[in-house]
């Protein structure tokens, strides 16, 4: 600190406590930290601003969702699984969502289980659905690229609950990256919600299949 004689005698003011040279040095020393604070504040504001409600997607038309092309058809509540087993024997009931799914990737895949999530809260419901291939009435192993198939996604929940209709499903999609950052290999990454689908809940008639 350079105290000029004049300032000491005439009383303090900021401009005379430090000389201009000192001010410049201190300002340049602090500019990096100040810039970081402003940048992080700005990014935080930007992320806040970007929250829009997810779009409601249409039923009955194919929805491109990254790896999968999904066409939602209907959802029913039933006590019988698509392969014929009575899930009511273990005290549960099933929500069965019928979709037509097409694998848009170049490899056989069963990541369909991660593409649709049940958004309507139901107590005790399965976290992940089980997929059944309706052609065989059996559990789906994987779907081949380019072949559209009727698939039933099943969530079971403890029997006797009232479920609000319409049911809401989140549709998740991944982005395709031709070369990832680590191995330069093609990768489906960054799974995010692209929309929601609302379907009225129907009760199964008779056999429920």
């Amino acid at each position: 600190m350079i105290f000029s004689d004049k300032s000491f005698k005439e009383g303090r003011s900021l401009a005379t406590i430090f000389s201009l040279k000192e001010w410049r040095t201190r300002a340049t020393a602090g500019v990096g930290g100040i810039a970081a604070i402003i940048a992080s504040w700005g990014i935080g504001l930007f992320e806040e601003r970007d929250q829009r409600p997810p779009p409601t997607l249409s039923v009955g038309h194919p929805i491109p969702a990254g790896e999968w092309s999904l066409r939602f058809e209907r959802v029913i509540r039933s006590d019988r699984l698509p392969d014929g087993t009575m899930v009511s024997r273990s005290g549960r009931e099933a929500i069965i969502l019928y979709v037509q799914a097409t694998n848009r990737t170049t490899r056989s895949s069963n990541s369909l289980l991660q593409a649709v999530a049940l958004a309507t809260p139901v107590k005790g419901v399965d976290a992940r659905p089980t997929a059944y291939l309706m052609r065989d009435h059996a559990i789906m192993t994987d779907l081949q690229p380019g072949l559209p198939e009727e698939v039933a996604l099943v969530w079971t929940y403890p029997a006797g609950q009232r479920i609000a209709s319409p049911l809401r499903f989140d549709v998740m999609a991944s982005n395709f990256k031709p070369q990832d950052n680590l191995y330069a290999q093609p990768l489906w990454t960054d799974t995010h919600k692209i929309g929601v689908v609302d379907l009225p809940l129907q009760t199964a008639q008779g056999g429920g299949l």
Partner: protein, 191 residues
């Protein structure tokens, strides 16, 4: 001349580095399967596993015996069935990797819908030294891609990395019309 010495060294260095970068194979290629190429109806020896694949058959529906019952499978596309003979030279092995590569580069894994078939080659079937196997490998393909052209990849591991993989290339064939119903047990008996 002396002044251009360092510049020349830098330029040559740049050229060499650029050349190395452009000719370097991708990581998945360097750590990928060790391919053993072959033709249909010929034995392809990959060290332990040796396979001999025959002509593929196309069908719209297949029928096969599984766990004592007769099953039928329909498809939105077409079924491609390849008869394969396999044997091992040193030690017990399974054929976990069964992939069909179409001409446009798509990779179809052997269909999981015929896993229990008695005559279908699945990961549960074991190859013992001294005992040759005759099985069928079954794929489900979109109708427009199935004309018998492609490559069959067979390997002991499901995703071979630095391990052997047999690659049998099938040339484009005159597309015969696919059979309406193919009985896999009958086809296997004829092998």
């Amino acid at each position: 001349m002396k002044r251009f010495g360092p510049i020349a060294i830098i330029l040559i260095g740049l050229l060499v580095l650029a050349g190395m970068r452009w000719t370097m194979p991708r990581y998945e290629r360097i750590t990928g399967p060790i391919a053993f190429a072959g033709k249909p109806d010929a034995w392809v020896d990959t060290g332990n596993l040796a396979v001999r694949a025959g002509p593929p058959q196309l069908a719209r529906t297949i029928r096969f015996k599984a766990l004592g019952k007769v099953e039928e499978r329909t498809s939105a596309g077409i079924w491609l069935v390849v008869p394969v003979r396999s044997r091992v030279d040193h030690a017990t092995a399974h054929v976990y990797g069964r992939i069909w590569v179409t001409p446009d580069g798509r990779r179809y894994r052997a269909s999981g819908r015929v896993e229990d078939g008695d005559v279908v080659l699945t990961g549960t079937k074991t190859l013992q030294p001294g005992l040759e196997r005759k099985d069928l490998v079954v794929f489900e393909l979109p109708a427009e891609l199935a004309n018998g052209e492609g490559a069959l990849l067979l390997s002991e591991e499901r995703d071979p990395q630095l391990t052997a993989q047999a690659r049998i290339t099938y040339p484009a064939a005159v597309p015969a019309s696919p059979a309406k119903l193919l009985d896999l047990d009958e086809l296997h008996a004829k092998l």
